[in-house]
Amino acid sequence: MTSAGTVEPGSTPEGLVLTQVSKAFGGVTAVKDASFSVMLGQIHGLIGPNGAGKSTVIGLVTGFLRPDSGDIRFGAHDLNRMTPEAIAQVGIARTFQKATPLVGLTALENILVGMHTRYHGGVLAALVRTSALRREERGMAERAQMILERFGLADDANTDAGDLPFGKLRFLEIARSMVLEPQLLLLDEPAAGLNRVEAARLSALIQGIRSTGTGVLIVDHDVPFVFGVCEQVTVMNLGQILASDHAAKIYENPAVREAYLGTQRAQTEAGA
């Protein structure tokens, strides 16, 4: 952690900073010279059409993918060379675009897996089942139950995660990543497949997470959802950043409207 003294005067309190990041898969350039930053305590949207490179950005930030060039920093941490588990441990959590239930584990156990790094007891304590560890285990289970309640999953604590309906699974996945108490939370299309009521509930939960000082990056196609909840929006297309600014400014940016919002609206109107 950088102490206040080492921060350069005039620097912004940014959490995540990407500088000129590029990533190609074989011949396909998924992300090209992407630069933007996500501040802590803010809700930041990342929008763009299919194949724009949004999920690739999340993969790069969380260490599942390595950038070909460029720099990804989080506070004092250079994320370029860190493993996914190390990145999670410095306070960056993520969800995945596709459904990721830990099948064979109950909803409660899924949450407890998210709390894994918070255990003090190690393997030896587990082996002899020390009373300290048993106490810790009870405390964790109680907390996990509270978190399930907060996410509307209290009645599903003992349901196998693989048997949960889609909407509930989405909330479980977000709850599971949140119990790390991350400083930065990256959500890959959290609202996809949710109905209006669920999406509204999700917005409220995300605002609750933000109010504790956590930065949230939301990747989504759902333009009303993103502009409804995000303060800051970044627009991607074909691997490049078209614009990154306050949501209101993005909404009025003619280039963005042309490239993305315009086509969306045209599609919506054509569909209606």
Binding site: T100, G104, V113, A126, S177
Partner: protein, 319 residues
């Protein structure tokens, strides 16, 4: 349930005092111990691995060489071999567990294939194909563990110890991490769980269990030879885990009983013995594809070959 049954059988065998059954049940305990190690790795952490026969060889040959050439106390030789096996597991696992799933499996299969050749080649230590005879037996306070009752009790003591290790770790956050890694490694890592470290832990635990089983076997046979640790051994341990039910606590025990005891029970069938055993094995694969004690939905595509009324019956059992 299965434990209660096995416990009853174990005590009955002891009380019955038949040396023949005591011998068989001792072998059951040793196979079960090695199989528990594989079950932790494969059944819970989801890591395909063929290392168990090589680590049994570390225990067997470790005890034999230390006991005969260096005159080390057999108990110490057993412990020292187990430590060696754990170190070996780390040396293999640290570089090779960087490989994902199947690739580690393949690399470890090479290890299983190479074990007998290595033992033959290292003749100055192992006496090559002749093996090592006259391995000093375990003794404690005037009791020799060559006698059926002491070795029986010792083997089951070690086996129960292995079960306790398995159960206490599985109940804890460590076991939960294993299960998470096994269902979705990326999710586990995204939650800060060091998947490689936890797989390495299962490999080391499995190595210690295999090594202890190998040591005990050799110290009570007083003899070891390379062909004991051929590819058939690891296949047997796999069969035990799959037939018993991978990812089930009682699975390795039930599998070991199935593998050792059933052929003895049907021994009177003489030439039909193998045929009947194979038929039983196929019956398990068809009817209980997750193993006798396997959990979850017991379903296999092979069910489709059964007559419809049987299929319907089976389905009813699931719900």
């Amino acid at each position: 349930m299965a434990f209660l049954l096995c416990g009853t059988v174990a005590v009955a065998v002891l009380v019955g005092g038949s040396p023949y059954w005591m011998y068989n049940m001792t072998v059951v305990a040793l196979f079960a111990t090695a199989a528990i190690g594989l079950n932790i790795m494969l059944g819970y952490a989801g890591q395909i691995s063929f290392t168990q026969s090589a680590f049994m060889a570390v225990g067997g040959y470790g005890s034999a060489i230390l006991g005969t050439k260096l005159a080390v106390d057999p108990w110490l030789a057993m412990i020292f071999s187990a430590v060696l096996a754990a170190i070996g597991a780390l040396l293999i696992g640290i570089p090779l567990l960087r490989l994902r799933g199947h690739y580690f499996g393949m690399a470890s299969f090479a290890l299983a294939l190479g074990t007998p050749s290595f033992l033959l080649a290292a003749a100055s230590l192992t006496n090559g194909p002749l093996g090592i005879a006259g391995v000093p037996p375990l003794r404690f306070a005037g009791v020799s563990f060559l006698d059926p009752i002491p070795i029986y009790l010792l083997a089951w003591g070690v086996c129960i110890g292995a079960f306790l290790v398995e159960i206490s770790l599985l109940k804890s956050h460590v076991g939960r991490a294993w299960r998470a890694i096994s269902t979705n490694q990326d999710v586990a890592r995204s939650l800060g769980i060091d998947a490689r470290k936890y797989k390495l832990l299962t490999l080391a635990i499995a190595a210690v269990m295999a090594s202890l089983a190998g040591s005990l076997y050799v110290e009570f046979q007083q003899y070891v030879a390379p062909d004991i640790f051929d590819i058939g051994l690891i296949m047997t341990i796999y069969l035990i885990v799959y037939a018993g039910g991978r990812g089930s606590i009682a699975g390795p025990l039930v599998g070991a009983v199935f593998y050792i005891v059933v052929p003895q029970l049907i021994g009177s069938l003489e030439q039909f013995q193998h045929l009947v055993f194979s038929a039983l094995l196929i019956a398990i694969i068809v009817l209980r594809p997750n193993g006798i004690m396997g959990r979850g939905r017991q379903y296999a595509p092979v069910e489709r070959i059964l007559p419809l009324w049987v299929q319907r019956r089976l389905r009813r059992d699931y719900d």
